[in-house]
Symmetry: C2
Subunit: 207 residues, 2 copies
């Protein structure tokens, strides 16, 4: 798994001339980073006298963030694997009409999966934004800037994943599916940008 | 060094109840990620017949991005180390007036360094935004969304680092220094947001 590489190795692999891991895996990594920072803010709140009235709430946030982190970690690989499957489908034989039809079918199927995976990353990264906003507001205020960096990472996860959805949609023939996915992307994009902005504006006024 | 941890280990360490690595180190990590993705886009352009007229330009971008990545990697640790130094200064004895004065002096000095390090991250992350915009425009267009994710990562590096500068400035007594740094932060923040937005809008129209 890519997360078993050291950060240094992962960065080298990213920088190299192989298209994966690329923006899609980095979007998923941002989801994992956002989750980890949200969990940290909750952990920095738990056990503090000043915040003892919200101990249970923070424990729930920490557990939920940890769970999200594990899912995003899997997506780092899933995104790269899905790209490779599309690539493999393009290499299928295309001599006969039958081969051409089969190849086209396989490309369409693999591309659909390569759109679904970042779509799921975008949905989940958007979902954790509420959790981050909650921990930023109710958690240890000494760590409020960490919550902001968590929120920025979630924004990159949403917007970065959406770009990868859209680039895959552009080669899909199922128009109804494409239109439905595009509409969801546009909505998520707008909402994610607004959620991040709301928190950053609030915290910037405090600093 | 933190980059010698596996991604999984680094995420666990981030999520834990120690304040470092926190938002400051994650900002620096985003600078490294942005550099790695920019280098990848340049590498995906080098050697391609379609882009042979810009071979030299891409080699320069790849080399420069690689150099930036190495610097950001060091900053991941430097930011956490600087935080620990501030923490250590707070633990100095404060019985006598002499000890109190010395402790206060050490806290101020350590906090200034803890502001300088993310300031340098913000400056360098802003500097690579031009490089990213260049590789997005002139590099392999199949990788344009990767360039966008690189740009988002650079934005997080700038804005995340600035939050860490500001939080340290809030406990510094040198008013002239604080005012100068705040003005630089505000300008960088505005410019970084605009640079990212310009690229995302352009690419979103293409998709």
């Amino acid at each position: 798994m890519l997360v078993n590489l050291t950060i240094k190795e992962f960065l080298s692999k990213t920088a190299g001339s192989d298209p994966v891991p690329g923006g899609g895996s980095i979007a998923a990594l941002n989801g994992a980073i956002a989750s980890a920072l949200a969990e940290m803010v909750a952990n920095l709140t738990i056990g503090k006298k000043k915040y003892e009235d919200r101990e249970e709430q923070m424990k729930q946030i920490a557990a939920s963030a940890n769970n999200h982190q594990m899912l995003f970690i899997q997506d780092i690989d899933a995104d790269s694997d899905a790209y490779n499957k599309v690539f493999d489908a393009f290499k299928l034989p295309k001599e006969t009409d039958e081969e051409k039809a089969e190849r086209s079918k396989q490309i369409q199927a693999a591309t659909k999966i390569a759109a679904e995976i970042p779509m799921e990353v975008a949905r989940r990264a958007y979902a954790i934004m509420d959790l981050i906003a909650e921990v930023a507001e109710k958690g240890n205020q000494n760590a409020v800037t960490d919550a902001c960096v968590s929120m920025m990472s979630a924004r990159t996860a949403v917007l970065g994943a959406i770009l990868n959805v859209k680039i895959n949609l552009s080669s899909l023939k199922d128009e109804e599916y494409v239109a439905k996915m595009k509409a969801e992307c546009d909505q998520l994009e707008k909402d994610a940008v607004a959620k991040e902005q709301a928190l950053l504006e609030k915290v910037n006024k405090m600093l």
